[in-house]
């Protein structure tokens, strides 16, 4: 994991002092709210329905025990004892007082955490694969480049007042768990003739105009990537639309120009950079950052120990069930990546109490090489766990309601805060997710259904990623009534697609039944268990699902 040196620490410390001054000027009335707004936003402070909300950055989802414990302490001291992990691998505190925020930021800085550029029209927190550095299907660890991009984009003087927010995601695995197709820039790390580089995608995004990113470059060598990103950002900063907030994302520019013309303009800007303008990151710096991400000293797992793990599964069906669902293959023999589910049936997706955070922190230190990630599906991940520790780990998680065996199953929903917290919402999201989860609570049933992503947003801003849910649920306002539009066929991985709207919106109480009819249709149509929901849908088309969906109406 990257650790701050004196430069990082000083930058973050200076930022805290700067924001302390800005808050003081706001509280004294020297700054008007409209002048303060972009300043607080660049520090992750939103004004929500009930209170100020603070969004803390977790760069590429990377935590360790000490950092997670610090987040727990923030929620205890300054909030209501819980935090909300988001789809951008960040964490939000929903009930903080504005006057406390400088102290919170200072407290976070002590552990190498900050809220820099977690909102506002700037380059946001870089996101990545939550199994980075562990997954069996990855070419290399993408985190060193995420960190390099984090540093380059932090306090970038040219790109702090972009037309709109800007999100970069990086993956290096065959299976894209970073959703690069729905980001402003999506980077896929490749190797060509021994040279590391990036396939560059641009112009993806969700919100009210969902668009998939277009590939604008097959290969940018690693030595050029920051200069190339500067070129993309400069073209966007100069030519992105500023006349209409809803048309200001880079996706609109790419779409209006066409991907070819856009990439031509980027290439022209890149070619115009003089030698003295190049960033020219020294190899020593690239090496320095990579060194922080060296794999842990994996303990060898003996055959006897592996046998113990098998025996534990044989003896305890609940444990075996959890192992069958929440483990991900690790590249190191005798190890697995564990998903710590923040989706208990009846809970709010992504919420964790201070006690739960403390517990996971301690478990990571004890059993998992002190490495923790936040996933974009709003769960926590322990990327490296020797199989010998899994049973003890599971028991501890289970006792804290953190062992729901539902990773990537139907109750592992992505859900935005919705009308319960958000002042932009049209409808509630959390209660709808709870009602759906209730219907599918039984693990055996969920496993029978298999991989199925339901994503729920409380309005068209799409914070809950409904466009890329296999089943997407969007809250809309129909003459003062909260109703829900269902879309089908979205996906966020390497086969990314935007879901299609299935038909007229439904009342909240009809949503669980509608989902059930979709699932029943799938179960009746699939060619065996290996054909997951989204593949059946791709094969049959939407018709049979639509019919089932509206049959009862």
């Amino acid at each position: 994991m990257y650790r701050y040196d004196e430069f990082d620490a000083r930058l973050v410390g200076d930022r805290v002092a700067q924001f302390r001054g800005q808050v003081a000027r706001r509280l004294s009335g020297e700054l008007k709210e409209d002048e303060f707004k972009p300043l607080r936003l660049q520090n992750g402070v939103y004004l929500q329905l009930h209170a100020y909300m603070l969004r803390v950055a977790i760069p590429y989802g990377q935590l360790d025990g000490a950092k997670l414990r610090r987040l727990a302490e923030v929620s205890r001291r300054y909030d209501r004892g819980y935090g909300h992990f988001t789809t951008r691998q960040n964490v939000q505190f929903n009930w903080v007082g504005l006057g406390d925020i400088p102290d919170i930021l200072e407290f976070l800085a002590g552990e190498g955490l900050h809220a820099i550029q977690t909102s506002g029209n700037c380059i946001r927190n870089v996101t990545s694969d939550h199994f980075a550095g562990a997954a069996a299907d990855e070419l290399m660890d993408p985190r060193p480049w995420c960190e390099i991009i984090r540093q380059w984009s932090s306090f970038h003087p040219e790109f702090a007042f972009l037309p709109r927010k800007f999100k970069i995601a990086v993956t290096a695995a065959a299976h894209d768990r970073a959703a690069i197709a729905v980001h402003d820039i999506g980077l896929r790390i490749l190797e060509r003739n021994g040279v590391v580089g990036f396939e560059v995608h641009a112009g993806g995004g969700q919100g009210r105009t969902p668009l998939l990113a277009a590939k604008i470059r097959d290969f940018v060598p690693e030595t050029d990537i920051l200069d190339y990103l500067e070129a993309v950002l400069r073209v966007y900063n100069r030519h992105g639309r500023r006349d209409n907030k809803y048309k200001a994302r880079i996706k609109i520019l790419v779409h209006e120009l066409g991907a070819e013309e856009f990439s031509r303009q980027v290439d022209a800007e890149f070619a115009a950079q003089g030698g003295h303008e190049k960033i020219a990151l020294p190899q020593a710096e690239i090496d320095r950052i990579h060194a922080y991400f060296a794999p842990p000293d994996f303990v060898p797992v003996s055959a006897e120990e592996a046998a113990l793990f098998d025996a534990a599964q044989a003896a305890d069906v609940d444990f075996a069930e959890w192992c069958g669902v929440n483990l991900h293959p690790h590249r190191q023999p005798g190890h697995a990546s564990v998903t710590v589910s923040l989706k208990p049936v009846g809970g709010a997706a992504g919420d964790a109490t201070a006690e739960q955070m403390d517990l996971v922190a301690g478990l990571a230190e004890r059993y998992a090489y002190d490495d923790i990630r936040v996933s974009h599906a709003q769960n926590l991940v322990l990327p490296h766990v020797p199989v010998v520790h899994l049973y003890a780990l599971w028991q501890a998680l289970e006792a804290a309601s953190l062992a729901t065996p539902n990773e990537s199953l139907i109750t592992d929903m992505i859900v935005c805060p919705g009308l319960d917290y958000c002042n932009l919402a049209n409808a509630r999201s959390i209660p709808v997710s709870q009602a759906v989860a209730q219907l599918f609570a039984e693990t055996k049933y969920q496993r029978e259904i298999g991989r199925l992503h339901i994503n729920i947003s409380g309005c068209i801003n799409a914070c809950g990623h409904h466009h890329v849910g296999h089943i997407g649920i969007l809250g809309v306002d129909r003459k003062g009534e909260e109703v829900y539009q269902i879309s089908l066929g979205g996906r966020a991985d390497e086969k990314a697609a935007i879901g299609g709207i299935a038909g007229p919106a439904l009342k909240a109480e009809d949503v669980p039944g509608a989902v059930k009819r979709i699932v029943d249709t799938y179960l009746s149509l699939r060619r065996g268990r290996d054909e997951i929901f989204i593949d059946t849908l791709a094969r049959t088309g939407m018709e049979p699902f639509k019919e089932a969906l509206y049959a009862a109406a």
């Binding site: 430069f7 003087p157 040219e158 100069r238 020294p282 320095r288």
Partner: protein, 163 residues
Amino acid sequence: MPLLKDGREIPNDWVFVDGDAPIEGVRAVTVPLERYLADVASYEGRNAPVGVRLQPEDDPDALVPHLDRLELIEISFPKYTDGRGYSQAQLLRRRHLYRGELRAVGEVLRDQIFYMNRSGFDAYETARADLPSVMEALREFRDAYQPAADRRVPAFRARHGNL
């Protein structure tokens, strides 16, 4: 409106002459880019200083042949949230090595001045920030992660002995 430069408040001897308005008397003026380009020769032959005021949509590359003769380029921020001026400044300073005064005009607020300075501005016309607070803003960060148009050594070089 106060004009801040080099750590001081200085008198503003320049006037901006918009559109086709006539230039009165022999005084230092800035004019819109289009107007300047339409009649470069006559501006260059003038016996008083001439500068150009860029609007956010203007392309600073158009000034490249004339940069040596321009004493002042003003970059306009009609709204402080419109960040195009930062790119214009970086292009003028870093790409085209413009050495005259680069002045931010329009909605110039205290908390934008640090980034403006890094992007290459050296003068700020601002109704909303006084000298002490601007000087404070310029010192708020001691380090920088990336190269820009100022002299700060980026952390990735400083870490390795200014490599």
